[in-house]
């Protein structure tokens, strides 16, 4: 005989209430990146052909560095969310799946952080 109360039987059987957060974060970063990525591509065309000094001069403007850091944060977050879904959908073997998830999620954090630190170093002239 099951002695659990009706509440404890029901608890944990529903959704983990995580789906909406993942979904929303993916959309919010996408919306944020619409203007930011187009701005960045435009700037890239101007700066990429130039010298190191041109890039430094651009990133030493406070708003340029700020917008680029905002873009990088959204980009790496969006990337981590997207890669996670792709791996969860197509990789069946649990061990491989978890390994790939760890690599991509930690990799996103590592390279995202390194990019932002690089922008800060250039912006502060270090």
């Amino acid at each position: 005989m099951n002695m659990n109360s009706p509440l404890s039987k029901a608890r944990g059987l529903g959704s983990a209430k995580e789906g909406a957060h993942h979904w929303k974060a993916q959309r919010l970063t996408a919306i944020l990146m619409l203007p930011l990525s187009i701005w960045f591509i435009c700037k890239l065309i101007c700066v990429a052909g130039g010298t190191h000094a041109d890039l430094v001069a651009w990133l030493q403007q406070p708003m340029s560095a700020t917008l680029l850091i905002l873009l990088l944060a959204s980009l790496f977050y969006h990337m981590a969310l997207g890669l996670q879904v792709v791996i969860e959908d197509y990789v069946q073997a649990t061990g491989v799946k978890i390994t790939l998830l760890l690599i991509t999620q930690f990799g996103s954090i590592l390279f995202g952080l390194a990019s932002i630190v690089s922008v800060l170093l250039i912006a502060t002239g270090a």
């Binding site: 959309r27 919306i31 990525s37 065309i45 190191h52 990337m79 792709v86 390279f111 690089s118 922008v119």
Partner: protein
């Protein structure tokens, strides 16, 4: 065995994917490809922060024919993912979801991605030189 004769979802080996399905999987493929491009962007920024020498080195790689091919593919993947992402955001409002609309917006995504890629490279190569 009877249990092995259950109906299957569209069998990818024998089922010709409609345009909408090709665009759908391309969104994921370009997404994964753009992740590689994002890694390159990170390397570019790290090189720039490291110093002039490493910045010039990575720019020399990006300026080589192989680097230019990568940049071109990356730009197309970016504009495709951007255009189709906009289509997804539009769908999220509950609009444009019937068969005819979905077919039309799929074609619009291809045209938009191609046009934006060509426009960007035109500005970068022709506009940048002047």
């Amino acid at each position: 065995m009877a249990s092995n004769n259950r109906p299957l979802s569209p069998h990818l080996d024998v089922y010709r994917l409609p345009l909408t399905a090709i665009i759908s999987i391309s969104h994921r493929i370009t997404g994964v490809g753009l992740s590689a491009g994002t890694l390159l962007l990170a390397c570019w920024l790290i090189a720039a922060a490291t110093g002039v020498e490493s910045y010039d080195k990575i720019n020399a790689f990006l300026g080589s024919w192989f680097g230019m091919v990568l940049l071109f593919l990356w730009s197309f993947a970016f504009f495709f993912h951007l255009s189709n992402g906009l289509r997804h955001l539009f769908w999220d409002t509950g609009r444009g979801l019937d068969k005819a609309d979905v077919e039309k917006s799929a074609k619009a995504v291809i045209i938009s991605a191609a046009a934006l890629t060509v426009l960007t490279w035109f500005i970068a190569l022709v506009g940048g030189a002047s």
